[in-house]
């Protein structure tokens, strides 16, 4: 084995560092899915009638749907009756009203993940909503945000306190009937984050949600809804981890974004769900629907994602460019390693005039990883003067992995412009030798080359996240050359 192969093998053997389990008493519903389970979830959350109706409509529709098969990933059939659809850390007493009342075990768990929930320990610029299994356990800086008029709370709390807003926007971007996984989510989702930025407000701090799966045999089905009123701005970050388990776990989330006139939403994700072990055992199945509606004139929605975890990633953060002059962006780094599989990309639907979209996708495959970019650029008839620019780059490490690019382009307006560029490259022996000849170790050289490849995407991330993403990438690099 050459030294390059050895270094990469050593990298392979690094441990997933978020794989611990928190021992905490949980309130769970019986395994399996039926209308009673949905009623039970809704009752546990004390939901108004409209929510239960919506869930049941979704469930009944879901029963008529088939799991999609078009994606370029392979996995054994999922037994939807073998999943626990709700698991919440058991509240002590009435449930926490403030951080002081949150179970110290939970605080410890998040602290261990590097997400201290005590406000004085946080970087002052970021507010956090912490979701543990099916429920939000704490949201920081709520008071400070409330002063600016910003609502940032768990989804459950929003249903109680702001039912009108929820009713108005829930399912307005991703309808309950949208697709198999989104429909399942609509039926059983248990919590998530809710953000509302009023007219003209620039959110005074970064908002973030940290998702943690802890319980065994449970699925996580959270839902995020962000509404940015006219002329407002918000930057939102999302992070996620899960314990190491031999069995696969399902994560099917939905994110809906709504941007009105001149509003801007920047949504960044660093996805680090447990990817499974080096033999491909265990790991999260991540089937996620993320979509933004750039509804207002000159509104802007920008997705940035760094996907390093999960056994399977299936996700296409999209933008519907409805308002004239609306802007949609998608910046993505997806890394697949060992036996990880990713089928990810975006959809840019141009409806308004002079709408513009940019897609920048960087796929990295190592080990036996399979990485597919799948993207749709659709220019509708009325989208006069619209433009899209797409760039898809793939980087291969070793010769057992794969990179696939599947762009779909539909143009129905002759005044629009669509550009697509794609490249595939391999970390070459020549690049490594160039670095080592200058005195840089192979391990550092691989990190440097991969980070360089991703630079254009990383610079879109908020600084704190960018540093985290770079570290994550070098830890996640596995596989071998030759």
């Amino acid at each position: 084995m050459s030294t390059s192969a050895k270094t990469l093998q050593e990298l392979t053997n690094r441990q997933y560092k978020h794989g611990f389990v928190t021992d905490i008493e949980a309130d769970t519903v019986p395994r399996g899915l039926n209308e009673d389970v949905i009623r039970l979830i809704s009752a546990k959350k004390n939901e108004p009638e409209f929510m239960l109706d919506w869930r049941l409509k979704a469930y009944r529709h879901w029963l008529t749907m088939k799991e999609p098969r078009w994606q370029n990933v392979r996995y054994p059939p999922i037994d939807y009756q073998d999943i626990v659809y709700y698991s919440a850390p058991k509240p002590k007493g009435q449930g926490p009203k403030s951080l002081e009342e949150v179970d110290p075990e939970l605080l410890k768990a998040f602290e261990k993940l590097g997400i201290p929930l005590e406000e004085q320990k946080r970087l002052s610029g970021v507010a956090v909503d912490a979701v543990f299994d099916s429920v939000s356990v704490a949201t920081t800086f709520k008071e400070k945000l409330a002063k600016a008029g910003v609502i940032f709370s768990s989804f459950s709390e929003a249903v109680q306190k702001h039912p009108d807003l929820v009713k108005k926007y829930l399912g307005s971007v991703v309808p309950y009937s949208d697709n198999f996984f989104a429909t399942l989510n609509s039926a059983v989702f248990s919590d998530g984050s809710f953000v509302y930025i009023p007219k003209g407000v620039r959110c005074p701090m970064e908002l973030s949600t940290y998702f943690r799966i802890n319980a065994e045999n449970t699925g996580q089905f959270e839902r995020t809804l962000i509404v940015a009123e006219e002329g407002s701005y918000v930057s939102y970050l999302e992070g996620c981890t899960a314990p190491m388990r031999d069995k696969n776990q399902l994560h099917a989330a939905v994110v809906e974004l709504v941007a009105l006139d001149n509003a801007q939403i920047k949504y960044s994700t660093v996805q680090n769900w447990y990817p499974g072990d080096a033999q491909g055992k265990g790991g999260i199945y991540n089937f996620v629907t993320k979509r933004g509606a750039a509804r207002g004139r000159a509104s802007k929605i920008s997705w940035t994602q760094v996907e390093t975890g999960s056994a399977i990633t299936w996700k296409y953060p999209s933008v519907i460019l409805q308002g004239d002059d609306a802007v949609g962006e998608f910046h993505s780094v997806a890394l697949t390693n060992n036996y990880q599989q990713a089928d990810t990309g975006t959809k840019m639907i141009h409806i308004g005039k002079n709408t513009r979209s940019t897609i920048l996708s960087k796929g990295i495959s190592a080990g036996h990883g399979q990485n597919t970019y799948r993207g749709l650029v659709k220019i509708q008839k009325g989208a006069t003067g619209s433009r899209n620019y797409t760039q898809c780059d793939s980087l291969l490490l070793g010769n057992r992995c794969g990179a696939h690019t599947m762009p779909y382009i539909e143009v129905k307006n002759t005044s629009s412009q669509v550009e697509h560029e794609a490249s595939t490259s391999k970390i070459g022996e020549d690049q490594l030798f160039y670095c080592t000849q200058r005195g840089i170790s192979e391990e550092d050289a691989v990190s440097m080359i991969v980070n360089g490849f991703c630079r254009e995407v990383f610079k879109e991330l908020p600084m704190e996240f960018a540093v985290e993403a770079q570290k994550l990438l070098s830890v996640s690099l596995e596989g071998s050359i030759g």
Binding site: S2, T3, S4, G428, E429, D430, Q431, F433, Y434, C435, T436, Q437, R438, G439, I440, S441, E442, D444, M448, I449, N451, G452, F453, C454, R455, E456
Partner: protein, 258 residues
């Protein structure tokens, strides 16, 4: 010169790639501060020799030994050789997209310094050093913001190699066809950069196909390679002889390397 004073001693070096023998017994001795030119036709093994000295794994050494400062060079990895002071200017410098030229060089310099037990340079000190060395090859500041060799012209790439050499300050520099693809002005710039780096502590092995480069970088010794061996050695006048008579005739008169 006694053996212990030699910087590099190559003895009966054989190397193969994919089972094919490229080097068939090279002997060469280089003392500190000396500049040796290695010339020869395409396919004679010049570049292979350079890369074997730098430690490229593509080539397998099947026989012979290389002593560098008295130690077994072939036992060292490429980065250990760099730490020991060996630098190779690449014939085809490699592009590394997204990695800043100066960031790359600072990482390299600090990796070397760390391994040598020296203090690493901070960004400011490094920038001061880099700016000073950039002048040697007339590189302007726009180089600093670009990715390693990405979008560089042929001449810029070669100047960048010599700039890296100036910053990394090696004991033995191997220049692999640094003149190839350069017009006369670029050649002069690169050669004057190289000349400014000549010193009694730094030896150089200058590999070239043409005598032209040696008008600017005047060697102490000239060696001619043919078929994986050094077939003739001499002073700088040998280069001129080659220019007049061509490789075929010179190779015909085989002489042992000194």
């Amino acid at each position: 010169m006694t053996r212990s004073e030699l910087l590099l001693r190559v003895k009966d070096l054989h190397a193969t790639v994919g089972g094919k023998e490229i080097l068939r017994g090279i002997d060469l001795e280089v003392g500190p501060g000396e500049v040796h030119a290695i010339m020869g036709p395409n396919g004679s093994g010049k570049s292979t020799f350079a890369q074997v000295l730098a430690g490229r794994e593509t080539f397998e050494v099947t026989k012979g030994e290389v002593l560098y400062q008295g130690q077994d060079l072939l036992a060292l990895s490429p980065e250990e050789r760099a730490v020991a002071g060996i630098f190779m200017a690449f014939q085809y410098p490699v592009e590394i997209p997204g990695v800043g030229n100066l960031y790359f060089l600072r990482t390299a310099l600090n990796a070397l310094r760390k391994r040598r037990g020296e203090e690493e340079l901070d960004a400011m000190d490094f920038l001061a050093l880099a700016k000073q060395k950039m002048k040697l090859v007339a590189m302007d500041e726009s180089f600093t913001g670009r990715s390693v060799n990405e979008g560089f012209s042929g001449g810029e790439k070669k100047r960048n190699e010599i700039f890296q050499m100036a910053v990394l300050d090696p004991r033995l520099a191997i220049l692999d066809e640094t003149d190839s693809g350069l017009d006369i002005d670029a050649l002069r710039t690169v050669a004057s950069g190289v000349n400014s780096l000549r010193s009694k502590d730094r030896a150089m092995i200058v590999i070239t196909h043409y005598q032209r480069l040696l008008e600017y970088i005047v060697p102490d010794r000239v060696h001619v390679m043919g078929n994986g061996r050094i077939v003739r050695s001499g002073g700088r006048e040998l280069a001129l002889e080659l220019e007049q008579k061509g490789y075929a005739q010179v190779e015909g008169r085989r002489e042992a390397a000194r």
